[in-house]
Symmetry: C2
Subunit: 930 residues, 2 copies
């Protein structure tokens, strides 16, 4: 606190400094004080200091906001006295008086937190007006209609925002006035009409707010400041912070600034502009302006704003000044700025500057361009793009032009990214039905519950009125990969009539809407979407090239088929981290072969053991062996073909192939259906030797034999290979022979054979023994040596805990964090995600779904144990991660810190992972340098 003799003299002064003034080329704050002044306040101070024309005013700090809540929603002692002092300073500077009828000082009041945040209080303009000061305004402007219009707007805005009166009530009154006056537009209402209307508005406030509308400007200011503070803990603001991990104790600042008027004639005007196009990133002033208008008019759509470029002809001097300022601000902040300005009688005033929100495409282009323009370093550019934005660029997007031209109905939380277009349906059953008929639908609900799941799954996207980023709709939508906009307050649904109101628009069931889950915007109609080929996204590729130079982690991809491997390589994958061989088992005729093998697998294996021990086998057993070997032979040929395709696609790069993993019953028919079939046929009196009944009974018996209480913890992974060794030897042959064939074809295959579900080193040793003996046979038969390595997944807690022993027998580890998370938490993902896990996240028992974002405290601790022990036992151990977390930026950062060699994710996530890995490396370097 700066020492000041006046501080001591004035007993009401607040105990600490809560107010920072700006005006006349001097500000008490600056850009570095975002924490204290919020983004907007810091921007105003910075612009003021830079000599830019900013109307005088002051900022009440975020600390005042925190003190307000700490004191039980009371303004800190002395704060309001300090506010009045600051007002007096502004009065002095402007020569106007707050509440002074002849030359009234009017102010705007706006919230301004450190981060721009939806759900915070909107602007209240023209504060300080009452019927007396209105007279002064009319005299100054010479425009009575303007005066009354400003006044009724002030009442309306203040009434709604500060006093909490339903906005609809004011709209209805305007509509009634127009009906009475038989006019259709607001502009046709006269000054008298508006005077009447403003009085009617005050009556509405009296009834619905339970108090008179405050005439005293000081009281207006007091109430407005409290309203800004209160909005900090509004539902949407809280949800937004929770979703974006912004702490609750940042608080919001309040900006009080002298009103300037863009509606004082044709040499006045107002506008908003971006220093670059926020949709495409193109380097040109982008925005709109209106002459003789207030900012609200731009938004309200009463008059059509004009492109900012037209200002150049209209007001060339002002335009030049604005352009210079814009450029200066962009250079100053080293980022694209979102500017608000007003021209009062030819004089330009800057009302706001802030970093511009931008589309993913724009973010990438701007970052790349700013490196070329030497505004940013490459490292800084990499930090300017969110991994989520890269993700968006990999998805279908709305056509930028069409999106810009579409009617925005409302905005909500960007709860799950992506573009969705469909007919609005208000009920999950009907949504599922319509989708079943091949229609594209968007499910629109007040909120969703588990009962709506089928409707969500069938829809293109989901839109809800209630609930934040951790609401059922948001969590489920992200899980199932559907775009979702949640918490759109402006949505009401009349389920019976199958109608909804969205913003100011009436929506009938079946109307087309478009959701942008990446921004939270909802548009009317069907906006066309585009798929932009990765190869054509020059900016993105440039950024990712830089990322590749910076990152230490390699990015591999999970791919089960040659097509996926090709795609992964296109996106920059440096290897295949997980090829799930059993995924090849499920297609078409293959499933029949697999079933054939499974039905006799155990019998044939026992019979083979008997034969190997020199004992006799029965004719039935011999037949089982033959049938089994026949099916396995077919599978081997199919798998070899698949592996060849993948090796060809990945020539020169490693391919990790995991041996069979899932429980066998997954390949058999559904048990319940068989029980029903058998019961039905028996009830119908079919004899036991009826062919249909006999076949169903036989299948049911096989299914029963393989049935397990908890298949997730049962006979799968390496356990399966140890019980039915032919699975291991058959797959080994297919892999080795594929590699040999590809080598002969001039390719360079690198097979890494991976054993799943190892919990004890002896499992690995036994499997390795089987596998290497078979590999030797294949190599000897072909007379070719194959470059293959042998490793294991670490996905069982015991595997992580005993990783030292395991590493002695494995050349690489790959963390299977899906299973590791299941077992470390004791969660069955299938059961938990549709059930209690959702509730856990919603109630904050868990901060995130651990299947999406790696649980660092638990699962991460096991990983750390495994990495430390594994590397101690084998310093050159290669370690990666192939669980779903391999594509999650936060998890990638953790893996980088842990010193893994690579992360492996789905092909579409490869670009995201490339950026995230670079950011992790940069952050890590920055932390080391600290």
């Amino acid at each position: 606190m700066p020492p000041s003799s006046t501080t001591i003299d004035r007993p009401h002064r607040a105990a600490r400094r809560y107010i920072y003034a700006f005006g006349s080329g001097r500000a008490e704050g600056d850009a570095s004080m975002r924490d204290l002044l919020g983004g907007k306040g810091a921007g105003l101070a910075e612009m003021t200091n830079a000599g830019l024309p900013v109307p005088p005013g002051f900022t009440i700090t975020t600390e005042a906001c925190n003190a307000y809540f700490a004191a039980g929603e009371r303004l800190p002692d002395g704060l309001f006295d300090d506010v009045l002092t600051a007002v007096r300073d502004v009065e002095r500077e402007t020569g106007k008086g707050f509440g002074e009828p002849r030359n009234p000082l009017l102010v705007s009041v706006r919230s301004g937190a450190k981060f721009s945040m939806p759900g915070m209080m909107d602007t209240v303009l023209n504060l300080g007006l009452n019927e007396e000061t209105l007279g002064g305004l009319v005299a100054l402007t010479g425009n009575e209609r303007f005066g009354w219009d400003a006044y009724r707007r002030f009442i309306q805005m203040f009434g709604r925002i500060v006093l909490g009166v339903e906005g609809e009530l004011f709209e209805e009154a305007i509509a009634a006035a127009k009906t009475r006056r038989r006019v259709t537009t607001d502009t046709e209402l006269t000054a008298d009409d508006l005077r009447d209307l403003s009085r009617e508005f005050r009556a509405i406030v009296h009834v619905h707010a339970g108090r008179d509308f405050p005439n005293d400007p000081h009281e207006q200011l007091d109430l407005a400041i409290r309203a800004v503070f209160a909005s900090w803990f509004g539902r949407r603001a809280r949800d937004y912070r929770a979703f974006n991990s912004i702490p609750d104790d940042l608080g919001t600042a309040v900006n009080v600034m002298t009103m300037v008027f863009g509606n004082m004639g044709e040499d006045s005007g107002t506008g908003v502009a971006f220093t670059r196009d926020p949709n495409t990133g193109e380097r040109r002033l982008y925005g709109e302006f209106l002459t003789n208008a207030q900012g609200e008019d731009v938004v309200a759509g009463i008059r059509t704003p004009r492109a900012i470029s037209e200002m150049r002809n209209e007001m060339p001097a002002v335009y030049d000044e604005f352009q210079r300022i814009a450029e200066r601000l962009e250079r100053h902040y080293r980022d694209v700025q979102d500017l608000e300005f007003t021209i009062e009688k030819g004089r330009l005033f800057m009302l706001q500057t802030r970093s511009a929100k931008r589309t993913a495409a724009a973010a990438v282009r701007i970052a790349a361009d700013m490196v070329e323009e030497r505004i940013l370093t490459r490292a800084e550019a990499l930090g300017r793009i969110e991994p989520g934005q890269v993700d968006q660029l990999m998805r279908n997007q709305f056509d930028a032009k069409a999106r810009a031209a579409a009617t925005l109905l409302a905005s909500g939380l960007n709860a799950s990214p992506g573009a969705a277009v469909g007919q609005a349906i208000f009920d999950a059953d009907r949504a599922a039905e319509a989708a079943g008929r091949g229609e594209k639908v968007v499910l629109v609900r007040i909120e969703t519950s588990p009962d709506d799941f089928h409707g969500m799954a069938a829809s293109e996207g989901v839109l809800t009125a209630r609930g934040g980023a951790t609401s059922h709709a948001a969590v489920v939508a992200r899980q199932i990969g559907k775009p979702c906009v949640a918490g759109v307050g402006d949505l009401t649904i009349d389920a019976r009539k199958r109608r909804a109101r969205l913003g100011s628009h009436d929506l009938a069931e079946g109307d087309w809407i478009s959701l942008d889950g990446s921004t939270g915007d909802v548009f009317l109609g069907a906006i066309p979407t585009v798929e932009v080929r990765f190869e054509e996204q020059a900016g993105l590729r440039r950024i990712l090239d830089w990322a590749d130079q910076v990152r230490r982690l390699q990015i591999w991809s999970n791919a089960d088929k040659p097509e996926e491997a090709i795609l992964a390589r296109r996106y920059g994958a440096q290897g295949i981290g997980l090829c799930r061989t059993e995924h090849m088992f499920r297609e078409g005729e293959r499933l029949d072969i697999v079933r054939d093998a499974i039905l006799v697998a155990f019998e044939a294996t026992r019979a083979k053991a008997r034969r190997a021990a020199g004992e006799e086998v029965t004719a039935d057993q011999a037949a089982a062996i033959e049938r089994f070997d026949d099916a396995m032979g077919k599978l081997e040929r199919l798998q070899e073909r698949d592996f060849r395709g993948i090796f060809a696609a990945m020539t020169g790069l490693p391919v990790v192939i995991r041996l069979i993993d899932p429980p066998l019953h997954e390949f058999l028919p559904d048990r319940e259906a068989l029980i029903e079939q058998v019961t039905r046929l028996e009830t119908l009196g079919r004899p036991a030797d009826d062919p249909e009944l006999a076949e169903a009974t036989r299948l049911l018996a096989a299914v029963e034999t393989l049935r397990e209480q908890n298949p997730m913890l049962g006979l799968r992974g390496c356990r399966l290979g140890l019980m039915i060794p032919d699975f291991v030897t058959m797959q080994t042959r297919a892999i080795l022979n594929a590699a040999i064939a590809e080598k002969r074809d001039g390719h360079d295959p690198h097979a890494e054979i991976m054993i799943p579900l190892i919990g004890h080193v002896n499992e690995l040793k036994a499997t390795r023994g089987l596998l290497e003996a078979e590999a030797k046979r294949v190599e000897a038969a072909a007379g070719v040596e194959v470059d293959y390595t042998f490793g294991t997944m670490i996905e069982v807690p015991r595997g992580a805990l005993t990783a030292g022993e395991i590493a002695k027998n494995a050349e690489f580890f790959s963390f299977g964090t899906n299973d590791l998370t299941q077992m470390t938490f004791g969660y069955s993902r299938d059961d938990a995600e549709g059930g209690f896990l959702l509730d856990y996240v919603e109630r904050g028992i868990l901060s995130a779904n651990p299947f999406q974002t790696l649980d660092i405290d638990g699962v991460g601790q096991l990983m750390r144990i495994a990495v430390t022990a594994g590397r101690a036992a084998r310093p050159d151990l290669k370690i990666g991660i192939c669980g779903e977390h391999g594509g999650d930026p936060a998890s990638i950062a953790f893996c980088h810190g842990l010193g893994l060699d690579y992360v492996s994710c789905s092909p579409y996530r490869v670009p995201v992972a490339r950026l995230a890995a670079a950011q992790a490396a940069l952050t890590g370097a920055a932390e080391r340098d600290r």
Copy 2:
């Protein structure tokens, strides 16, 4: 190696010393050299050094055995030359000559490892005989029949044991000879008959061993030594070692000793004796002898041996000498000895001394008595009893007298302890059927497979011919708590005729047999069993009192009902470590109430939340609430009554009560049965509103809602309490009110409320909040404060990993090692134990079933992490274990080392645990003192 000039002179001498001689009051070895000389060799050396009469001989060391295998089953260079040198020393001492026709030296050859071990080579007597030396033997004894009998026995024994000829062939030849001679007993065969027989035996050897019977005594000795070595890696010996964790590289020694003859007239004899009764532990010489007989005659049962006490009258001087020697040996070894002796013409020779095998009852009595006799300290006495023996004393046992009098048919591996009596049945299906008719059966199989499981489960016990301690029969029997004797080589089964041969006895299906799974003995007929009340086992109680003074770990017990708590306290439990409240839910009418509650639980909980938020509930919802509250109220009253009983039984001691844990569908009807019922009724054309169909459909829908893919990892434990808070509050009320009522009745209840399945500290916080608020309400209503503590199970890996955070919110931990093992290994116990886990143990992939013996490397590591972090966060944290491992001695030792406060096990295991905890403390102290 002692320097010796002769060593240098003789090029064939082995590179190291492999032979230790004994004789004439001097031996090169002593009792401390068990590792090198084996138990038998060390005993012979020790007795020789003590001046006891031992026939001269020598021991070939265990190192020679290891060298034999290391060299690929070749005798080490020079070894046999050293053997011949040692033989020459014996010749010198005895004045006899090896292979010398006139005064032949005959020797016995026996194996002798560090630990006495079934499956090792039997004794070969009379080695050195051939038709020439036989003449000398006849001349010396003046008994031609004796000579030829000795010779045919030698051929038979050597042929079977050393040359591997089927023993049956010799028996058939004897039978044929008796038929030819029209006599019925062996003794009726004349010297000529025996001469013919011995020549016939040599012919049998020629045909079946593919070689001539060796006449050269040196060749006989060479072959016999190799046979002893080879028996070290025989199947049964290997299995025995695996079961008893004896390393394979100990090797066996070979003892070669001068033959003395107990059959040289009425002043000769032979016998075996224990220094105390090995059945009861009574302090008296116990054993048998025969005059004019060789040791083999005692075993063969041709003549009935006489009680050792009768020797006192017959040969008073020899008896006195023997008694003095016996006492001296017992004092010397400070343990009961098992002695073999022979009297040759009035001269006593000691042939063997070793620690005596004894029954559990004897072990306890002997240990206790030896403390009184100041032979042992209390600590030593505690070390002399195996926890398994205490376990046996807690089970039904055979009546000791009846057991001693019963006909022993055969012996095998003591694979699973306990006494089983039943009719022998040779097929699992028939065993299950007979058991279904209420008959008591013992399943007798060559070996068992998973297909036999139902038969095993229905039987009193299991007997197999093949397979060791980790065979299917052994592992499953231990799992299901059935006595089992495995690997009885003397068992053949003719399944078709339903007959078996067991030892020398023919057995028809349905004959009664008795198995002692604790010793591996199989008896003919039904031996009565006795249950000895714990209170009456004075020796055991004395030992356990000493154990209580030594141990640091407290022993608590798991008990779900008052009766179990009473039993546990009788056995010495110091608290209840786990009271599973839901076990009270399953009995009779309770299950109906529980089902009633479950069917509406979720609906009622949602409706209650709605009501609490001030929203309206429908009539249906109100009805659900009412029905739910009604059922929960009934349950509360029942639980309160149960808790009162337990608190009363455990007054003054802590009672850990775990809140509801299992998934709810466990309380509902079987899903498959419902599917069948619905399908059947629908197929029969019943309308949907048919009452039976409607009810089944309703139940099925409820079951489907609760259904989970992996219930072990689903909605259970604390998750359930967080979804349906009424379970927590209801149980809290029942516990608190029960404690209050018992306090008012003058009891001293100590409730410890335990939350299961905590994986994240927030789960614990949320549950604790619910629980403490309810507890405060109960206490306030009653005006009584209750002494209760709040803690959690550590049974989820993540719970262990984050134990530091959890300990801040828990006053105690209890390791639930069943679940912790399931999740750490990723094994579903239900699935694994019936499947691959068995195979894993049998193949040695796992050294033990981790559900029976704690896995120290994996699960133990998690426990160590949890103990360290938990105690760091809360130094006075009380930590116990309540999984099944709490009763396993090896696991108890680990828990002691980990510094736990208590282990909790089933009531019957409490005495076992008391001893094991004391042994752990003594071992720990000994290790610290080292």
